[in-house]
Amino acid sequence: MTDEQIAYLVIETDASSAMATVNVRCTGAWIVQGIAQLEHRLEDISRLVEKELVIDGAAITALDTSGAWLLHRTIREFEQSGRKITINGLRPEFSALMQLIAYCATVPEISQPSAPDWLARIGRLSWQTLHGVSGMLAFIGECAIILLRSFIRPSRIRWRPIFHNLQTAGFNALPIVGMLSFLMGFVIAYQGADQLQRFGANIFIADLVGLSMLRELSPLLTAIIVAGRSGSAYAAQIGTMKVTEEIDALRTIGVGPIELLVLPKMLALIIALPLLTVFADVAGVFGGMLMARSKLDVTFDVFLDRLGDAVSLSSFMTGVGKAPVFAAIIALVGCYQGFQVGGSADSVGRQTTVSVVHSIFLVILADALFSVVFNWLKI
C-alpha cells in the first residue's frame, strides 16, 4: 500500500476526555484499500462526542463508495442518537457521491436462516429420502413405458447413439476391465495356492478360480468399474445439459430427453456389460492359469480340462445373467442423478458423486439378492 492510499483522521480538539464538541479533520484517500483502520477510529471518536461532531473534509483527496459509506454510516448513527454532525469542505464531486450513497443506503439484511433443531432435521432428511426413492421409482416407470413404446415402434429406436455408447462405455472399457480382472484372477490363485498345496489338491485351483471369477467376481468387478467410468459420465453429461437448459430445449423441440438420452445409454450398457463380463471371465481365468502353472505346476491343458468339469454352464450363465440387471441399475441411477441437478456447477459435482455411490451400493445389494435367490432355486 502506498502512502497516498492511506486515509487519516486527525482530532483537532483535545480528545482525552468526553466533551461536547469535537472537531475532526479527514485527510488522504478514503478508498476501499485505506479505510480498514478508520472504521474503529471513527467508532472510538463517536463514543467520545457528547453533542456535536464537526468533520472537515477539505483534505480528502479521493473518495469511493466504501469511504463514502463509512462517512454516511457515522452521520446516520449521530442522527439516530440525536447528536449533531456537520461535514464541511467536501469537494463537490464527493458531495454528489455522498448524496448518491444516502439515496441508495439500505440496512443490510443478510439474514442467516437459523439452524433447524434435530427433530426438524430428521424429518427433513426422511422426507428427502422418501422423495428421492419415489422420484427414482417414477423415473424407472417413465423409462419402462418409453422403452415399451419404442419396442412397439422399433423405427423410433435411435441406433446411432446406441452404437456410440457401445463404443464409449463398452469397447473403450476393455483395457481397464481386462487388466483388473486379470490381476484379480492372479491374486485369487496366489492366495489359494498355499492352502491347496497343503492338501495336495493342486488341481482344484481351476475350481477355485473358475467358480469365484465366473459366478461372482467378474460381474461385480465389471459393474463397479463401469459405474465409476460411465455412470458418473452420464450424470455429469445430463447434469450439465440441465444447467445450460439443453434439456428444456429438447422438450420444446418435441424430443423426449429420456428417449434421446436415457434409452440409448441403457440399451447400450445392457448389451455391453454382459460382453465385458465375459471378457473379464476370460482375463481372470487366464490370470489364475498363469499363477497355477508357475506356483502349482498345473499346466494349461490340465487346468482347462479341469475347468470344463468344474464350471457348469449354469454357473457361467448366473454370472453373465446378472450383468444386464447391473447395467440397467447403473444407467438408470446415473441418468436419474443427472436429471436431479439444480442450477449450479456445485450441484453437478454433488449429483455425480451421488450417482457413483448409489449405483455401486445398489449393484452390490442386487448381487446379494441374486445369491439368495439362486441359493433358494439351487442353481
Binding site: T65, S66, A96, P108
Partner: protein
Amino acid sequence: MSATMESTQKAVIDIRALNSRFGNNVVHDNVSLTVRPGEIFALVGGSGCGKSTMLRTIILLQQPVSGSIRVFDREVIGLNDEEALPLRRRWGVMFERGALFSSLTVAENVSMVLREHTQLSTRLIDEVVALKVALTGLPADAGSKYPSELSGGMRKRAALARAIALDPELLFLDEPTAGLDPLSASGIDELVRSLRDALGLTIMMVTHDLDLLWRSADRVAVLGEGHILGVGTMTELSRSDHPIIREYFYGPRGRAAQEQAWKKK
C-alpha cells in the same frame, strides 16, 4: 472532449499496432486505439469482428501475436498473474453472461472480492455489499438469492455489482444489455452513466445496442475487417461515408435508434 484535454490527460488504455489471429484467421491487423479518462468508450462492429477478443486481450485473458497495450500507463502484454494483480484490482469486468459463481449467493459473489482483497471488517463488508447491490438497482432481498433464482436482467445487475465491488477506476462491460428487455436495457443505460458520473469511472464496453450507444457512449470505435473503420462520437460516425459504418448506422434499426435519441434531446 477537446483536443487540449486529450494532450494533457494520459490515456487510460493505449493500444498500439495490435495484431491477433486465430489460426490463419486474422482478427486484428495493426489496430491502435486510445481510451481517455472518464469517458464511456464503446467498441462496435458486426458479429465475429473481434470486439470481444480485443476486450479479452486487454484484460489479459488472451495473448495477441504482437503489439502493445498500456493500461494506466503500464504495459500489460506479457505480465504474469502475480504482476497483473495490482492492475486487475484497478479494473472491474462484467462478462456477457454474468459469470456469477453459481454456488454463491449474489451477496457472497460481491463480498468474495472484498474479502479477498481488503482488510475491512465483516460488518463493513456486509454493509458495502448491500450498498453495491442497491447501487446497481437490485432489490434488497436479491442479495440472499442464488444466480439461478434471478432473471436475466437481475443477473446482469448482480454481475455489475461484483464488477464494481472494489470501486475500480476502469470498468469493462461485455454486451451489458444483450438479452434484456427494452425496459431493463434502458435501466442499464442510465446505470452506466450514473456510475460514471458518480464514481468518475472510465468505461469501455462492447455492445450491439444502438440505443445504448446513442444515449451513453462518449466515443465509439467501429471495428471491421480487422481494422478500426472509424472512431468518434455517434454524431461524427453517422456522417461517415464508409459503407460498413453507413450500413451499421443507417439500417432500419440504426435510424430508429437515432430518432429516439434526438427525441430524448
